[in-house]
Point group: C2
Chain length 224, copies 2
Amino acid sequence: MSVAVVLVAAGSGERLGHGVPKALVDLGGRTILDRAITAFLGQSAVTELVVVAPPAAADSIASTLRSGCPLPAVVVPGGLTRSDSVRRGLAALSDAVEFVLIHDAARPLVPASVVAEVIATLRSGSDAVIPVLPVVDTVKRVAGQQVTETVDRTELRRVQTPQGFRVDVLRAAYAAAPELVATDDAGVAEAHGVQVCTVAGDEAAFKITTAYDLRLAELLVSAG
Amino acid sequence: MSVAVVLVAAGSGERLGHGVPKALVDLGGRTILDRAITAFLGQSAVTELVVVAPPAAADSIASTLRSGCPLPAVVVPGGLTRSDSVRRGLAALSDAVEFVLIHDAARPLVPASVVAEVIATLRSGSDAVIPVLPVVDTVKRVAGQQVTETVDRTELRRVQTPQGFRVDVLRAAYAAAPELVATDDAGVAEAHGVQVCTVAGDEAAFKITTAYDLRLAELLVSAG
């Protein structure tokens, strides 16, 4: 079994206000990207890494990876949209790869156990696997500022990454929908008729978007 | 303007595994309940406080409040369900009260600014006001472990507390639906045809349910 990891790290990080791409923001002495890579290094099935980087930072990230990453790693510049970036990542995989995990670098604290569970579920025959959590808060539908409905949340799940796929399946899904704007890769697969199954995610795999999120991540990292 | 606060603190806290009711769990040197009360003490419109307590802890909570709470406060024992507890809290309000804020004690870190915004929106004429946040993660609908749909989340909001109401409106809504099981008080009001409006919530107002949530709260409190 040969699994590649595509780390989507091309985000600008504008909402963090640090003036550098999000992947390069410091998180307790290491960059967000560096921490995101760590969750994958202990997985024996993972054989290569592709980092989709902000174009302006691609060279410096590549030089950092050359010196410190124990896996074969390549860096490709990101596209204009997340989907463009994933396409570029998929195009950079070696031919030997059977499965791919697409992971948001902005979820640097994903536990290795979640990664392992996604890989195990691919190994057992699934074409597409995503980690999810229940929706704990009450959810309302609104129109403007007015509530129109309380939504039944029992069948709703919050989706995290890494999302795992058979490489040929995900490539075919992206090829079939060159203009599709999906919020996640599983959405592209679903639109292509692929059956997506779920495994348990973890609160620690939350996405860093705002300054509040970064502060939480810093507190979690410093608490060890 | 006279605003009462009903703090729903009757939860068992079983998922926290501390062996005491959740409201009495320590959070950086003060109980969760004590911290939840604090957010309301600085609001000049708030004139009284009702704590709906776990029956076995009602006496000790009452004695603590008598010695330390600057507001008129009463403690009533909770019911079998959250709705029962809220009914008991509403029954304990003084006649002078015009508005009520129903707050989960399990959201002890709600910023005073959110409370103030809920009160201000009631003051401007709304019958029912809830703090909400956007849904940031991709959301899927599932059947068992299989994804059936990616949900459009643009009109979805995560609901927090305190939820604010005209007292007569909320009492009428609860009276009209003696058997309704709603996940929140706004849901009871909606079922009675009340227009509910939203204001901006805050990530810090998250609900403490699991050990992970409590750890986050401890980290946030200790970081100041």
